[in-house]
């Protein structure tokens, strides 16, 4: 295995200031390493990677990487990415979004990209909160949690993002935590190889807001929580809904084949010409 810091130097932009902007112990940094390792392992050339993000702490990830990158508007990363994929089909298009970015303002783009089966790998950083704007509740915030926008407890029930995109038609769906880093590298690698709309939901601690609001405290406590509460899909199938309360179900949830939007689009072009 190559050393991560060495690899990172090959892919980081030299014009950026380091250490990076994320808080101490924030899970997004661990994801950054995992993404770089998976891309390197997949043997893609830097010029063939197109990294697109929206706005949020997670949305800052592509800023640091020396690929083709596009930092778009909040919630709209998938719309830009769809255009890029259709115009330049040879590019490996990867989208990085936060839970708010992906499932709140960008929720419709998410489900319709999955339904359409556009050939894009989407990485959703689920820290269960709006990190960048100061800890407001997102569509994945647990019921009852007091947040900056729900001081008396959150009145809404959370989305299960992986199940949502499965139902919407994604051909590859996996969930991992940043604590289970080797599994994270592996599922990102699988998602990159997959043709069609692939999604990796990454559970990544927002230490500063989610940590404070849940009373979980330090980065170490939050990582330990992931360690203690992750359950593989296979095992989860035999567990009851009560037993699965507050657990993180991890692993590959969906891996199926379906014609991609681009393939069908190309076929129509040939036939109609």
């Amino acid at each position: 295995m190559k050393q991560t810091p060495q690899l990172i130097h090959r892919y980081l932009r030299s014009s950026k200031r380091f250490p990076h902007v994320w808080c101490p112990g924030c899970g997004i940094g661990i994801l950054l390493g995992a993404l770089v390792r998976a891309i390197d392992e997949g043997g893609y050339s830097k010029d063939d990677i197109m990294l697109v993000s929206g706005i949020g702490c997670s949305g800052r990830l592509p800023v640091y990487l020396d690929f083709n990158t596009l930092h778009t508007t909040h919630g709209r990363a998938l719309t830009f990415a769809t255009g890029i994929k259709l115009a330049k089909p040879h590019l490996k298009v990867i989208v990085v979004m936060g839970d708010g970015d992906a499932s709140s303002i960008g929720g419709n783009h998410l489900i319709h990209s999955a339904r359409r089966n556009i050939d894009i790998t989407t990485i959703i950083v689920n820290n269960q909160i709006y990190g960048m704007t100061g800890g407001q509740a997102s569509p994945t915030t647990p019921f009852g949690l007091a947040t900056a926008s729900s001081p008396y407890g959150h009145l809404e029930h959370p989305f299960d993002i992986s199940k949502l995109v499965e139902a919407a038609g994604a051909v590859f769906v996996a969930r991992s935590t940043v604590y289970h880093t080797k599994a994270l590298d592996r599922v990102i690698g699988q998602a990159l190889k997959k043709k069609g709309f692939s999604v990796v939901e990454v559970m990544a601690p927002c230490v500063t807001h989610f940590g404070k609001m849940t009373g979980m405290g330090s980065p170490v406590d939050m990582m330990r929580w992931q360690k203690d509460n992750a359950v593989p899909f296979e095992k989860a199938r035999e567990m009851s809904a009560e037993e699965l309360q507050n657990k993180i179900v991890t692993g590959v949830l969906v891996d199926i084949g379906k014609p991609t939007f681009h393939e069908e689009h190309a076929r129509i072009w040939r036939e109609v010409k």
Binding site: H9, D185, P219
Partner: protein, 99 residues
């Protein structure tokens, strides 16, 4: 895309950032895995210390991780993989039977 308006310090080096190097450093003869911490990038989150399966690392008085028990290191790289800031690197000694 903004870049915080600054020139970056991309390459951390031992010299520039006061890395903790195990006894012997790079010219040591004995075979063992070497763990280096680059204080210039480390944010003292404690993750590497907490999850090293062999208790190789402790937190020093300055809050930075410290290699306190080098002989126990198996070169598993979990500290490196989980560091959010790429501030710790493991030089695995391929000949060690400490795996």
């Amino acid at each position: 895309m903004d870049d915080h308006g600054s020139t970056g310090i991309l390459l951390w080096t031992r010299e520039a950032h006061g890395a903790t190097i195990l006894p012997g450093g790079s010219d040591r003869n004995c075979q063992m895995n070497r763990v280096e911490i680059f204080k210039g990038w480390c944010k003292k989150c404690g993750i590497c210390v907490a999850f090293c399966p062999r208790g190789v690392l402790t937190t020093g008085d300055d809050g930075f991780p410290k290699v306190s028990n080098p002989d126990a290191c198996t070169g598993c790289r979990w500290c490196e993989l989980r560091c959010p800031d790429f501030a710790i690197v493991v030089q695995k000694d391929e000949h060690t039977d400490n795996a």
